[in-house]
């Protein structure tokens, strides 16, 4: 995969919803979603809302595309597999470009909490790159 062409901080500012969720860069290719009480879906077990997990995965995919210099990326479809409950601690996300074409990009995202070998969710989606 090619090196990022846009600085990490710059792309977060371009995606206000990612900022609302509180996504931040943890490493060059890893995002972190710090735990916050208002992100919870199931208060009994303190698990994150399924929608938060889906949104974080999708944001991670779009942030990757922004860093690759594809500013007009819009989501065509996004699919999430929920593998384990995301409990009340930070979530880490790594997006991988499967293919970045001229019109469409396909991205896969993995999410984990304490151990990358024990993922909490996996997502994949298609994104439209052309300006309509």
């Amino acid at each position: 995969m090619s090196e990022p062409v846009v600085a990490a901080a710059e792309v977060l500012a371009a995606l206000p919803y990612a900022a609302y969720l509180g996504l931040e860069w943890f490493a060059d290719d890893v995002l972190r979603l710090p735990f916050r009480g208002d992100l919870v879906g199931n208060y009994r077990i303190g698990a994150l809302h399924g929608g938060v997990v889906a949104a974080a995965l999708e944001c991670a995919a779009r942030l990757l595309l922004l860093r690759q210099g594809a500013p007009a990326a819009t989501t065509v479809d996004f699919t999430v597999d929920y593998l384990r409950p995301a409990l009340s601690r930070a979530v880490y996300l790594r997006a991988t470009a499967v293919r970045i074409g001229r019109a469409v990009a396909t991205v896969r995202v993995d999410a984990w909490q304490s151990d990358p070998a024990r993922p909490v969710a996996a997502g994949h989606g298609n994104f439209l790159l052309t300006v309509s």
């Binding site: 995606l15 399924g50 929608g51």
Partner: protein, 158 residues
């Protein structure tokens, strides 16, 4: 069926949302329910907007996931815990700039431990759906041995 509990009172519908911290934070509103189906509204707010001026696709996914959960609840005979196993959202367009989003979702069938949902999102009105800008399909998994989030057992057979 449990939908009658939500159908019977606006307070019950509000209370259901209030018990889900993130849904309350986003300001979700349960507009209507029926047997195995529901309509949820996400009011427009600038902090959830995308660069195109409409609600961000992530916020729409959160609304559709939540609506899927309510649709499953509305097809249950008794309070049962469940969680999302898989969710797929397809965007035909982005939601209209500055508009509220409505999620209209139904539980197609509940069989064994699986519940399958389908639905759409639009920028219409309370009772007048607009053209769908997104579709959703998903599977929820029932967990009969854990305590349900919305524990209505004290209400008996609603």
């Amino acid at each position: 069926m449990l939908y009658r509990y939500l159908e019977s009172s606006a307070e019950h519908r509000r209370d259901y949302i209030t018990r889900i911290p993130h849904s309350a934070a986003l300001g979700m509103d349960m507009v209507a329910v029926g047997p195995g189906r529901c309509v949820l509204r996400l009011p427009f707010q600038a902090q959830l907007a995308d660069s195109h001026g409409g609600l961000a696709s992530g916020a729409v996914s959160a609304l559709l996931d939540n609506a899927g959960g309510v649709a499953v609840f509305c097809s249950l005979a008794r309070a049962t815990d469940f969680s999302t196993l898989g969710l797929r959202v397809e965007f035909i367009t982005a939601p209209a700039a500055g508009r509220d989003v409505f999620a209209r979702v139904e539980c197609l069938r509940l069989e064994g431990r699986q519940a399958h949902i389908r639905g759409v999102a639009d920028c219409g009105d309370m009772d007048q759906p607009g053209p769908p800008f997104a579709t959703v399909s998903g599977v929820f998994f029932l967990k009969p041995h854990s305590q349900p989030l919305h524990d209505l057992e004290t209400l008996g057979n609603v």
